[in-house]
Subunit: 324 residues, 2 copies
Amino acid sequence: MSDDPLLVPLCDGDRRALARAITLVESTRPEHRDRAAALLDALPTGREALRIGLSGTPGVGKSTFIEAFGTMLTEAGCRVAVLAVDPSSARTGGSILGDKTRMERLSRDPGAFIRPSPAARHLGGVARRTREAVTLCEAAGFDVVLIETVGVGQSETMVAQLADLFVLLLAPAGGDELQGVKRGIMEIADLILVNKADGDLAATATRTVADYAGALRLMRRRPADPEGFPKAMAVSAVTGAGLASAWDEMQALAEWRRREGHWDATRAAQAAHWFDAEVRAALLAQLDAPETRARMAAMARDVAEGRRAARAAAEEMLESLRGA
Amino acid sequence: MSDDPLLVPLCDGDRRALARAITLVESTRPEHRDRAAALLDALPTGREALRIGLSGTPGVGKSTFIEAFGTMLTEAGCRVAVLAVDPSSARTGGSILGDKTRMERLSRDPGAFIRPSPAARHLGGVARRTREAVTLCEAAGFDVVLIETVGVGQSETMVAQLADLFVLLLAPAGGDELQGVKRGIMEIADLILVNKADGDLAATATRTVADYAGALRLMRRRPADPEGFPKAMAVSAVTGAGLASAWDEMQALAEWRRREGHWDATRAAQAAHWFDAEVRAALLAQLDAPETRARMAAMARDVAEGRRAARAAAEEMLESLRGA
């Protein structure tokens, strides 16, 4: 058992301890890394949140949706954590203020925890950070962890690798625009929610739902999908219409997957995937040591100037790493 | 000096020795790998071909272009090697017959050497194989190495990392279709050749050239570009129109880059890039050993079943690799 002073308050659900623990796993300082590894290894098992991946391009009303959906859940007694994975904000130095202000009500809710995207220097480690942050949220007793990402390719695949179910949020649109959703994202979505089903856009939203429902029927059913999934539905983050039904569907899907054994199988496969990714990252991290960098640079010069072939030089480098 | 029996005939330009040497660098068998590494390290330096990356989606007449362009070069006394990088054919098991038959005349030309895409099992190693095959072609005294790729993303970037100049082959098309070329490919192209500038399509080809010339003017000039580059031109692989001018432009560009120091700088940067990639690949290849795979699988189970945290398990794994 780790004697880390964060462990007990974290497991008691203290949000400040959770925030500090996430900062710890994000840190690249060696003493922080050791402490983070020990803390993670000491976390009690058996606490599982429903991990919901949520993707949607800017403009679909994602913040408003999270605010309304999250508040509905906390009012029902659920503790909700929101983790943002936003490669673009990571690149521009984090969106700490942005995330708090765009979900003002939820950020003041004692049943909620909002964690913005990590800052620029962690871009490469965003996957690890997010996965470990999810684990910490579960240890802190959160019931639902929303992992939010912007619709830009790789981050969706990454989030799908750590979510129990994946929700794609869309805006109402004409049939032609249906092509705009990347097929890869359609393929990982369990639930497509067409937002803004209110006022002038209500009819368009209904048509958009029908368009996507048609498109989903053309796709092959995946083994971990019950009859009727993936599903498309209309919601309005503004009026709240459809939010309760969407939550019912998510719970029903999660329940079915638990019952049929897909839940545990998926989590086990995800854990194995992350372990593999972790080993690969750790192997490559050996190259970051200052003396290794210097040696690499010298050998790269030899290769560049034709004194060595790349393959032979690489093998020599590897031997020196093994001996180190 | 390696006493490999392939070394002398290879350096004498023997095409059979070249083919066998490429087969050797493609091999994954340990004894072949050692032999390949020694052979590559023993190659004489100082022989440089003009390495031309060539991209074009199916239907633009790429094979016909290579056949016509390559034959023009061999008739002028150049020795021409054609290497195919086709991820899709690699996936379906190679296109050995395809590559030879689609360039029938060039494949019988004693001044030419055509090497099809490597077979399925080498997909991950396509980059290394291609780079080393280029090196072997240079050692065998080829003057021009055409590295041909299908317009599907990553392979272009890879080919650009080993070419001295990059040619994009396009078909004549209406202005609207201009958008279809990925911006990333436009950015690495030095020369855009609009093919099929003959018969009914001649006028459309001219307009397409003008469209691309306009688009290229909007892009920022790169440091290694002389005035007027990147450039768009019309060619016809069928009538041969424009092929000589295209070759003049390629030579002028290469000459300018040599004179201004960009050629050596680019090659040095490319070599350093490949050395780095080689070290990373070699580090990760440690995980392929059977006993390591077995140990990884056992630890992955521990992680999947919640007995270990991924990070701590990965660190233990790494220590055992270091001790091995």
